[in-house]
């Protein structure tokens, strides 16, 4: 079981290392979307600090969606997805492994670049710390829920746009709790409540999403 999970992880990480373009594009997308907001709204530091948490969180959800449409699509095209589903291990583990790999490849770089963007938005140091923490808890949710959408839209025309339509509403709680945590620090009301709720949502997602995604994957492969 562990060997299977490690094999999936190792493979996806190796592939990402050989195709650096993919995750770099998602990362630059995140940076650019976030950088467009000051240009559209104006450079007022107070205003930017006010909208910063929300903008960065929305940009993170969009960046994760950008890459999610390919979570299973590439493996579907060359037939390796069928081999993985036909392995003796349960498909839930496969989905879990691929979601985890997605988070490591696309989520972690967002985390690393987020402080720089936080500075761009004039967020104070403690708020940046909480932003990182909220992204650390929140981005796995994006990968897990996105796995459901990627499995449902596998092989469909315009799957990428459809995926966005299906999954964005499900991201709402993560967005609210995540951005709210940073807002809480800025407003001086503390971030603990938001972060605990975000953590609870992560646990629930971890318990539910892989099963639904595994079922969806089987449906899509039929």
């Amino acid at each position: 079981m562990t060997r299977f999970l490690l094999a999936v992880l190792r493979r996806d990480l190796t592939l990402a290392a050989r195709r650096r373009g993919d995750w770099l594009i998602a990362l630059f997308f995140f940076v650019m979307v976030a950088s467009l907001f000051p240009l559209g709204i104006g450079p007022d530091p107070k205003l930017l600090a006010r909208i910063g948490p929300g903008v960065l969180w929305v940009a993170a959800t969009l960046a994760s969606l950008l890459s999610l449409s390919r979570l299973f699509a590439d493996d579907h095209r060359d037939g390796s997805l069928e081999h993985m589903v036909l392995s003796p291990e349960p498909t839930v583990l496969l989905v879990l492994g691929k979601s985890l790999a997605h988070w490591l490849i696309y989520g972690i770089p967002l985390l690393l670049i987020a402080p720089v963007l936080g500075v761009q938005f004039h967020l104070p140091a403690d708020a940046i710390g909480v932003l990182l923490l909220s992204l650390l808890i929140g981005t796995p949710i994006l990968s897990l829920l996105g796995g459901v959408g990627a499995a449902l839209t596998l092989g469909l025309r315009g799957g990428g746009v459809l995926l966005t339509l299906l999954i964005l509403p499900l991201y709402v709680p993560a967005l609210i709790f995540g951005a709210g945590a940073v807002d809480g620090v800025l407003a001086g009301t503390g971030a603990e409540a938001h972060l605990s709720l975000l953590g609870a949502f992560l646990i629930l997602t971890l318990l539910v999403a892989p099963w639904i995604a595994a079922a969806a994957l089987k449906v899509s492969l039929e």
Binding site: L145, L152, L156, R157, V172, P173
Partner: protein
Amino acid sequence: MNLYTYASPATFYHLAGRLIPWFAWSAGILTLVGLYIGFFVAPTDFQQSEAYRVIFIHVPAAWMGMFIYLVMAFWGAIGLAFNTRLSFMMVRALAPTGAIFTFIALWTGALWGKPMWGAWWVWDARLTSTLILLFLYIGIMALWAAIDDVKRGDRAGALLALIGAINVPIIYFSVKWWNTLHQGASVSLTKAPTMATIMLTGMLIMAFAAWFYSIAVALARVRAIILERERHTEWVKDILER
């Protein structure tokens, strides 16, 4: 199991055909009664004057929008668990009705909000979560539209309804939480002070009308879906040739 799945739509088709008039007529009569109470019998509200009367449509529509989504998830789960084709047809038949009720709830909410809050749209917790509910409906219907294969569409839609239904309470809670943090207390619909019994009666009658309407429309749609999917079977050919 096979005999069951094959035979079931045929019997259901005829049963639904007999039930539809009853539900349709009940819905029509209850709507007339409910609207009459709402517009002519119920007294003018002290605080909100005549504009409040939109709640006779708004509240039942909002209830139905939320409720139908849960019913869809329920039928979807049954279909996935027992592989019953009729359940998936129910899910497909219910979605447009649910989406329309959700849309009506949003529209009437805006109409009600203009005189109350002075704005067509307010990021009120209920309105916002209803909007997200509408997005969930649109997502399911878009997924069906994108999938050509009937069987795959049925199952994919059911799975999406299922994860959406698990998410709906969390979304509602999170939006409410977000709302209380960002805007003090806003006027809330059910807080309409001490609702008169006659108002409540009118609203309940309208709610029943919405129920019966949904059932009638869903049954009619299931019948159409059955005919479409079973068009190669003998009994459907018999019906169509008659």
